[in-house]
């Protein structure tokens, strides 16, 4: 008897140690992943702020003219980021405007309307779309979207730079963020409590009314999380965008058929070959980009909280 209880005690101690071990393993993983963001921000900030300090080795830059400048010319060492911020916001939000409704309606179709086999087929097609590397999108854009826009411009008697344009960037980004928003919306819509829908039907609502007023509204939080991720991808996309943007040296660009320049394509262009101020200033652009993304996310959250408030 005594022997048995000893065995039991041993097992218990082992279990306690096991728990403790895994607890600390999880804790360490959590610390590492959260430390990464702090390390990245600190590193970018330290590099990005350095050109504006008085002891900068390549000559102190004026932060006001950096933030308000409308010209970006590396050859003359003129670095103004204001028009690039505006261009990035325009292309990002315009592509969100195109992709968001399509994505949400697709998700609704896949989950609530389509017969199961068709829904599954579309869902896996979207998942494949989400996993395509961005440079493949870039090649597609150069080979298909750009010539298409050139033809469109010819038809409208507008001159373009061979099709490289703001419109090309918007179309490209719309296609790229479509799967991101759709797949997250699908997850969100699937998670909506079926009782809510049943209650809606019981009150005499039609299927369409239920889908738009109950399902979408309940899945609002997840759908907007998808929009935030999509916008993040649109702002962050560098490779594909720099292939079709044309990288204009001044701006901002409002004409859909004019060339444009985004923050990521600015950071990427020639990064591997450059040194000195031209290298360091890219970190400053990165810092500004992180600020832009943060503010945009807050703005989307604000919109989310306003939408459908009267239904909730």
């Amino acid at each position: 008897m005594n022997n048995l209880s000893n065995e039991y005690k041993k097992l218990n101690i082992f279990k306690t140690y096991q728990d403790l071990f895994f607890k600390s393993l999880f804790f360490v993983s959590a610390v590492i992943s959260s430390l990464m963001i702090i390390i990245i921000i600190l590193f970018i900030a330290q590099k990005g702020i350095s050109p504006f300090l008085s002891n900068y080795q390549y000559g102190q830059q004026n932060i006001a003219s950096f933030l308000t400048g409308m010209v970006w010319r590396q050859d003359q060492a003129i670095y103004g980021v204001a028009f690039i911020i505006i261009n990035t916001l325009i292309s990002g939000f315009a592509s969100l405007l195109v992709a968001f409704p399509i994505s949400v309606l697709t998700a609704l179709f896949v989950v609530k309307i389509a017969p199961k086999p068709i829904g599954n087929l579309i869902e896996s097609a979207i998942e494949i779309l989400a996993s395509i590397p961005s440079v493949v999108y870039g090649v597609f854009a150069v080979g298909f979207i750009v010539p298409f826009i050139q033809n469109l411009a010819n038809l409208l008697r507008i001159q373009t730079a061979g099709g490289s344009s703001l419109l090309a960037v918007i179309l490209l980004l719309s296609i790229m963020i479509l799967p991101t928003i759709t797949s997250i919306s699908i997850t969100a819509i699937k998670a909506v409590d079926i009782d809510l829908e049943k209650a809606s039907y019981a009150l005499g609502a039609s299927k369409t009314q239920t889908n738009f007023k109950i399902v979408l509204n309940s899945a609002k939080s997840g759908i907007f999380a998808g929009a935030i991720l999509g916008l993040g991808r649109a702002f962050g996309e560098a490779t594909a965008v720099s292939m079709v943007a044309g990288n204009k040296m001044f701006g901002p660009t409002f004409n859909l058929f004019d060339i444009t320049r985004t923050m990521t394509s600015t950071m990427l262009a020639g990064l591997k070959e450059t040194t000195g101020l031209d290298y360091d200033i890219r970190f400053s652009v990165g810092l500004v980009l992180m600020g832009v993304i943060l503010i945009s996310n807050l703005a989307i959250n604000f919109v989310k909280n306003r939408i459908g408030k009267n239904h909730a």
Binding site: V146, F148, N151, N154, L155, S242, N247, A269, T274
Partner: protein, 311 residues
């Protein structure tokens, strides 16, 4: 239901637009008229550096230029843009991209014309070694001279330089097996010997290819530390030849100047040429020849329409 009907009509309308755009592009827009679209590489590109130098365009490029991401990107973009003009390296496949190279001062851009120096949008990749007897050891000098022989005269050396974009006559080279008997030092164990190179950054791509090929044949190590053409002479024979910056072979992507007395070196010469070609779209028949003034005026924005450029 109204909503869905509207959506369907919208869908049909937009499909119609797509159809028009791809099939009914009118013929007459294919003639090159109006604004010149100037294409350029980003400011850190070596090709752009050379182009700016040839045309004396530094800081004067028109602000409405379109920046592309690489040599291939430039070729594709100008090939797609009837109104485009840009510049690429001579090794580019013109026909495949739909671009036409312009003559410069009446001379066609061919490898032959670059090598015989009649095509002027070209620059030499020059090298110079330390003075004889002034190397860190005798083996170091012999190995350096063996490498110089390899990059300068061997078919193998010229081949890798050519593949890396340098313009050199591969066929008139000599097989390395024939040349290497002149370098008995190569039969020693050379895995501790480190060849140090420096000077022009433009030569790095072709030089690295040659050094890697040489390393595969001899097991010699190398160390590249390139900072600019003017340091090529300085660090082998000039003011820094005995400093920590000292190197075995210095490079310049221009002709050595008269005050750079490279004849003091154990070996000096041009191992390949680098050439740049101004290109326009295949449909553009307005221009076939060019000169420095015309190119400068187009790229600086003084001439903005094809009508003015072809006058």
């Amino acid at each position: 239901m109204k909503f869905f009907r509207l959506m369907i009509i919208g869908l049909i309308l937009s499909l119609g637009l797509v159809g028009c755009a791809t099939t009914d592009a009118p013929e007459e827009t294919n003639k090159v008229t109006g604004t010149i679209n100037v294409y350029t590489r980003d400011a850190s590109s070596g090709t752009r550096g050379a182009f700016d130098e040839f045309i004396e365009l530094k800081d004067k490029l028109t602000v409405s230029a379109i920046e592309v991401t690489g040599n291939g990107d430039m070729a594709v973009k100008v090939g797609e843009d009837l109104n485009g003009i840009g510049y690429v390296s001579l090794t580019t496949d013109f026909a495949a991209n739909g671009i036409t190279p312009l003559k410069y001062k009446g001379v066609a851009a061919t490898e032959e014309n670059v090598i015989n120096k009649s095509y002027e949008l070209a620059r030499p990749f020059e090298f110079v070694t330390r003075a004889s007897g002034n190397f860190s050891s005798e083996d170091q000098e012999l190995v350096t001279l063996a490498f110089v022989d390899f990059i300068l005269n061997s078919v193998e050396g010229r081949e890798v330089v050519h593949a890396a974009g340098g313009i050199v006559d591969v066929d008139s080279g000599t097989a390395w097996n024939t040349l290497k008997v002149n370098h008995p030092v190569l039969s020693k164990d050379l895995s501790k010997v480190v060849l140090k190179t420096g000077g022009s950054t433009s030569v790095e791509k072709t030089l690295k290819a040659a050094l890697e090929a040489f390393q595969a044949l001899t097991s010699v190590q190398f160390e590249m530390n390139h900072t600019g053409s003017s340091d090529g002479f300085k660090r082998t024979l000039g003011s820094e030849k005995d400093s920590a910056n000292a190197i075995d072979i210095g490079f310049a992507s221009r002709y050595f100047k008269a005050e750079e007395t490279v004849s003091l070196g154990a070996a000096t010469g041009i191992y390949c040429m680098d050439a740049i070609v101004v290109v326009v779209n295949d449909e553009n028949t307005l221009l076939s020849d060019s000169n420095k003034e015309l190119i400068f005026n187009i790229f600086s924005g003084a001439i903005t329409t094809w009508e003015d450029a072809s006058k």
